[in-house]
Symmetry: C2
Subunit: 388 residues, 2 copies
Amino acid sequence: MKNISILGSTGSIGIQALDVVRLHPDRFSVSALAAGANVELLERQVREFSPSLVSCSTEKVARELKTRLAGHNRPLWIGHSDEGLRRCTVAEDIDLVVGGLPGSAGLVPAFAAVEAGKDLALATKEVLVMAGRLFMDTVRQEGIALLPVDSEQSAIFQCLEGHRKSHVKRIILTASGGPFRDMPAPEMAYVTPAEALKHPRWKMGPKVTLDSATLMNKGLEVVEARWLFDVPPERIEVVIHPQSICHSMVEFDDGSVLAQLGATDMRIPISYALAYPDRIDSGAEAVSFPLLGALTFHEPDMVKFPLLKAAYDALAAGGSAPIVLNAADEVAVDLFLGGKIPFDRIAAIVMNCLNAIPCAPAETLKEIVSFHEYVTERVRADWPEFAK
Amino acid sequence: MKNISILGSTGSIGIQALDVVRLHPDRFSVSALAAGANVELLERQVREFSPSLVSCSTEKVARELKTRLAGHNRPLWIGHSDEGLRRCTVAEDIDLVVGGLPGSAGLVPAFAAVEAGKDLALATKEVLVMAGRLFMDTVRQEGIALLPVDSEQSAIFQCLEGHRKSHVKRIILTASGGPFRDMPAPEMAYVTPAEALKHPRWKMGPKVTLDSATLMNKGLEVVEARWLFDVPPERIEVVIHPQSICHSMVEFDDGSVLAQLGATDMRIPISYALAYPDRIDSGAEAVSFPLLGALTFHEPDMVKFPLLKAAYDALAAGGSAPIVLNAADEVAVDLFLGGKIPFDRIAAIVMNCLNAIPCAPAETLKEIVSFHEYVTERVRADWPEFAK
């Protein structure tokens, strides 16, 4: 029996992780659930999976959960905020933590999980974007299993299993291209949040969906792959693959390419990370290749989607540039979803921030967090300037 | 330094294996070359690669080779026929044997290589078709590395590396569909040998090319995969993939599919088998996914190509039925290439033989060889009857 903790249990990854857990009661036990403010769903999850620890975003939410669970007759600790989250991450009986918190909020808990020696199924790409080198050093020091939950990184991970990394020539990240793949560039200024939140292939949280529409998501994955698989950026290629059946590929020195394919169902990478090195029923449907139609691939348009190029630039600049990239994008996406800027200003803000905000030392977790906070504050304050 | 012996050095596999060897003089040394009657090419190969053993098909050819090599100043033993072939297979300094002999001729040498403890890069699919169970038992007993050279089997082998076979749900063998994929069935009676020998994707020997045109080749690969990967036939699926970029796939229990892709260049699977577990430059070009166009997949037409179904039937019948399948096909292809029967009679002969010739005990290598000879003789004698 594997005892798991799910950070972000009411989000897209958390819900789908619990779908997988539900299929395998003999294999997984839920030790802890941490969520934000969706107290209704959290209550249902607690009743169904009987964790011994729960954490909510605030004391108020925690109180409401306690009231709702008055009749619940299993031993249960309910906490909140950073301390609640921490306990749901490091408690002794936890074997594996599912890191499904959205955005930079997932950073500190991911480090806490690894430092406590927990295996980590990591969905939060910001961890590797903001703190790639430090995080991978910590993973190696602690000797834990780091299992990527992103479909692309899981694909690459699966293609590398059993093969020597020294023979990797290229990593080929596939991208659906998002909802505006074929939209003429001038029209992109008029895209609404509702349009940008409709992903053609994947059901995901709002930030990731929005980032898919700008290809920023693929840029973040380039940074992530660089650290996760220790491959220099010039060996990471992005290819648009609108059908999202091939989830990424690895090319080796002999010209052989291994690819991982499957339904566009996050339960495949989630179940792989939960059960690794086993494979279990994920609940996903099998792909019928004769029914697929054609699989196509083409080059990304880095002029129309400058944030993909910005990610490569940030990697090349090194140091804390990826932190600027990520923080500026978080703020810009918020501004767009709040109706304050048009769609094409997201990229403008990120690129202007990369040019304007000088790198800072960011080698410890504390420095990384405080530089992220500094950039976030600065972009929030000066966004009309950066959006020009 | 790995000392290799190439059986069938002047054939398609042998020539391409030597292409790979030529790229890596620091890694491979050629100990032995065995070929048929192409004495001119064999002479050139001997002069270039300086093996210490050579074997030709007949004494006459061996004599001619000796004359041609009169001025060759390296120590060289030149033999012929079964004994020459055997010495080129089992000589003490050989580390790895490339089994590239065409058809049933490759059977006995493959067993000899394994029994002598040599690693074996096996291209001759008839070995597993005719003697699958016995051969795999021998491989396991001797503990040698059996490395498939067929592009499809190599693809599956690569996809399984590092993953547990107990989690395999399906093996998906891809097939180009051959040159007559889109030809209406009634026209197939009028196909000429020259048309059938033009494969749209792969450059291969005549027997394999012809078998690709009837899909018999894929049928033989189904039988081969059944033994090579110990997967029951109902878990082996064939999918037509005209572009021949995806060389085969493995689906796992979680719905995840691993695929191996690459240029249609046999030097990729050959170099993989030669260097395993390393990967080396194969000389093949990299695939550019944006330039590929579309990859398509569809179901094979088992009515138009009944030999694919015949292979599944022979596997289901078990025992010596695959020997009948293979021997009848060898004779029928010869008859077609000799202009004695129309194209569509190849399948008729094979299917009628499967129905008419009862299975025989074929559990030892001797029994397998003699049953193969019996079927071959009988089909050669009675083909006008079987072709009806």
